[in-house]
Amino acid sequence: MNSIKTKSSSAALLLLLLGASGGAGAVPFTQCPGDDFIKLADGTLVPGNDAVPDQYLPNPISNLPDPTLPNPKFRPEVKCMHLSAGDGFVNMADGYPQYMFGFSDLSGTDTTKAMVNGLLGAEFPAPTIVLEQGQQFYLDLTNVGMANRPDLSDPHTVHFHGFPQAMDTFDGVPDNSVSITMGSSLPYFYNVVEPGTYMYHCHVEATEHMQMGMLGNLYVHAAQDKSVAGAPVCAGSTYNHVAGQRYAYNDCDGTTRYDVEVPLQLASFDSRFHDASMNVQPLPFAAMKDNYPMINGRGYPDTVNTGILPAPVDADGLLTNAHAERPLGKPSQKINALVTASVGQRVLLRLSNLSVTNHYTVRVLGLPMQVIGRGAREARGPSGTNLYYQTSHVSMAPGEGVDVIVDTAGKTPGTYYLYTTNLNFLSNNTEDFGGMMTEIVLNP
């Protein structure tokens, strides 16, 4: 029933509607300082916007960026991103096709084509947002509409979960701010001053839009990463920076240093809720019970598949997110959850739980964990008392984020497992082996 043809026609209908509604702000635009050109596949620049700042102006003959022509509007601290919000599909680890709402990353593409590029583009999880402390983050959100639910006119937002000293203007909560309607774009601005592990999600009709999949990883690298090699990492510290070393926080003593970082976001779907949404049925809020537990948008063994999963298909094998301008569909699960390190390396796990239903506990079998932060703060008391602790399990409520260092020094190479000890969630619905599990592959 979910043939390409059906999808294409509803998509076309939507485009038509959006095109026709024209008037108010219907042309999506982005607000990225220094973005004056679109970079084409061959590297040449043409006038326009793609939500990527242009450091150099084009050479008048080659149209390639010319390092002798710096863009006066370019500021190195500016980071831009252009997200679309809409609907789409994913396949669960047992193959079950799942309708979803979600984000996709349109950065680097012509912003005037945001509608067609974003349509049916929902990804799970949402594109990971990686920021550097000190950046000014300009985020534009374009609502591309719900191609499979033309009856819905839902606005969308981005909520930067945990952003400190926030302003409601950019907090992405529809009840006390604004949200963006179909065919339009909303800017967000964040002055990024606190490193740590955050998360992001849509906050419109939060229970529904989050259950439907509008969830993603978001973290901020510490300024201490940019310390001078051989010099103390902060004034008064006896810990000297080693070139290339990175730190979860500005710890001043190197205790949060790591070699490998992996964000692992826990989430889970209730397929009955998704199916009800797909089929325009009343949504079962009170009966919500998740049956597809996942890490980074996948159930095991998809979690350890380092590839991009194929474009989603329905039960008949037909592409579900194809449309007239994109007949081959589009992959919607791009992020895996495999952790790979070499013996001796320190692995930073940026753990978060964005389930809308359940607390989850995760265990790493055979490797020690040290909790070094939570809530996007280093685990220190108000006067600096060290509150780190060793553990083999981390429990997280929905909305909690925890930073863990796994020190592999002296450990035996091999495959270790990270999995939930809420053991009934080690399954992909009725497929009773999978779910919320991934692997830490330790190489010699």
Binding site: Q31, A166, F189, R374, P382, G399
Partner: protein
């Protein structure tokens, strides 16, 4: 959704007007009762009874609640505000209806987790404590309020059923040096000082259990298969949480859960897990610092400060426990002027030691001076592209009200900065199948000069 928030809208507007209209309101910020105070003894006369509460999805639910004798029974029970070192005397009687086919109600009682030396006299012996078996059967609980902190009380009789039915409340012990009606700190520690104080008691209900009780089928209640579909903050489901204390149409749900503060102030959150499930309470706007658990400051034994406190953005409340946290907000490091000042507009910013504007009589008191007159880095879209929240000011700036289409906004009359505070188990943001609701409220950061009682 619209209609539910419209209802809250009306109420909050009323609340704001009530707050703003009264010149000086001596009422303490956490509503509750200090009982009858004679010398250093505080006496409370409580009675349990059955009645109905209303839920915002249009339902009514039979509950059992504690109430002060002569006042409506309530959910949660009266917040008992006592002073450390005082003797607390609670006389409890049982006004529940008789069990079907018998001439007596199910016995009830009270237990006080975290208190020691509780003496229970009268009534009849139960498993955990003495119980009251009827209107004339008085149980008296007596204890000396121990260390300051946030505590709870609940029925010690068949608590799996009776707490579900509503027999739960808060007990707050203020430091001996503090006036419970105008407190300034939570503990005998300088870093537990606060400017505003609010309670967040989280519970849940499975309406099916309440129907069985209402229909006289208590023996069919099976707690092991209970499935909560109603989620409460201070005994109310969102958006009722934003109505004022003692809103007359919520006769048995007297407690508001609408925190308000000014920029730079410290807001004490007394978070109580009153039910039987965990609820992760997420504070939009900023991290808080947890300063105490179960009425004990997070400090090492030799320390005179809360040296083991920690910062976080989601506070996981577990059943039967309490946590105290301090939240503050200045909007520092936004990178733009939150007031929308422009050079030459006559405004000024004179930084104090923290870099915040120091002239208390100015509207921009506590403004982060480093961002003074910095322009908003982006252009907000035109109104026709936007959907609006009822609390939206119509302006990106604090204290200013922008133009909005007819029927939009209207809940934020002072132009405060508003953040939603809610359970991040988002399925708890519904009342049965209706979103929004449940454990949900708003923090309003009012501009300086706006009176917060």
């Amino acid at each position: 959704m619209k209609s539910l928030f419209a209802r809250a809208a009306l109420a909050t507007t009323t609340a704001v007007m009530l707050f703003a209209g009264v010149a000086i309101n001596a009422e303490a910020r956490i509503a509750g009762t200090s009982g009858t105070v004679v010398g250093t003894t505080q006496t409370f006369n409580l009675v349990t009874s059955a009645d109905y509460i209303t839920t915002p999805d249009g339902g009514t639910v039979t509950i059992w609640g504690y109430g002060e004798v002569g006042k409506p029974m309530q959910y949660p029970g009266p917040t008992l505000k006592v002073r450390a070192g005082y003797t607390v005397v609670i006389n409890l009687t049982n006004g529940l209806p008789n069990l079907p086919g018998t001439s007596a109600p199910m016995p009830v009682s009270m237990i006080f987790p975290g208190q020691t030396g509780v003496a229970a006299t009268g009534g009849s012996a139960g498993v955990l404590t003495q119980e009251s078996s009827g209107p004339a059967n008085v149980v008296t609980y007596t204890f000396v309020a121990g260390q300051p902190g946030t505590y709870m009380y609940n029925s010690g009789t068949r608590p799996g059923l009776q707490v579900e039915m509503g027999l739960v409340g808060a007990l707050i012990v203020y430091p001996a040096t503090e006036n419970p009606n105008a407190p300034t700190k939570a503990y005998d520690l300088a870093d537990s000082a606060f400017d505003q104080e609010y309670m967040f008691l989280m519970t849940e209900m499975d309406p099916k259990i309440h129907q069985l009780v209402e229909f006289g089928l208590i023996n069919q209640v099976n707690n092991t298969v209970s499935h909560a579909t109603l989620w409460f903050l201070n005994g109310r489901n969102g958006p009722d949480t934003m109505f004022p204390d003692f809103a007359p149409w919520l006769n048995h749900q007297p407690y508001s859960a609408l925190p308000r503060m000014h920029p730079g102030e410290k807001l004490l959150m007394r978070v109580i897990g009153g039910g039987r499930e965990q609820h992760p309470f997420h504070t939009h706007g900023n991290n808080y610092t947890v300063i105490a658990r179960d009425g004990r400051p997070l400090k090492s034994s030799a320390s005179t400060t809360i040296d083991l406190g920690y910062s976080d953005y989601t506070l996981d409340s577990t059943p039967g426990t309490t946590q105290d946290a301090i939240f503050t907000w200045t909007g520092v490091n936004l990178g733009w002027d939150m007031f929308g000042h422009v050079p030459g507009d006559g405004s000024s910013c004179t930084p104090d030691a923290e870099g915040l504007h120091s002239v208390a009589t100015d509207a921009n008191y506590k403004e982060p001076c480093a961002d003074h007159t910095k322009p908003l880095p982006v252009v907000m879209p035109e109104n026709a592209s936007l959907a609006f929240g009822g609390f939206w000011r119509g302006s990106p700036f604090i204290g200013s009200l922008g133009s909005l289409p007819p029927g939009e906004g209207g809940l934020n009359l002072n132009g405060g900065v508003v953040f939603i505070w809610h359970s991040h188990t988002e399925k708890e943001l519904a009342n049965n199948d209706l979103y929004p609701g449940g454990i949900l409220t708003m923090l309003i950061i009012e501009p300086h000069g706006v009176l917060i009682p």
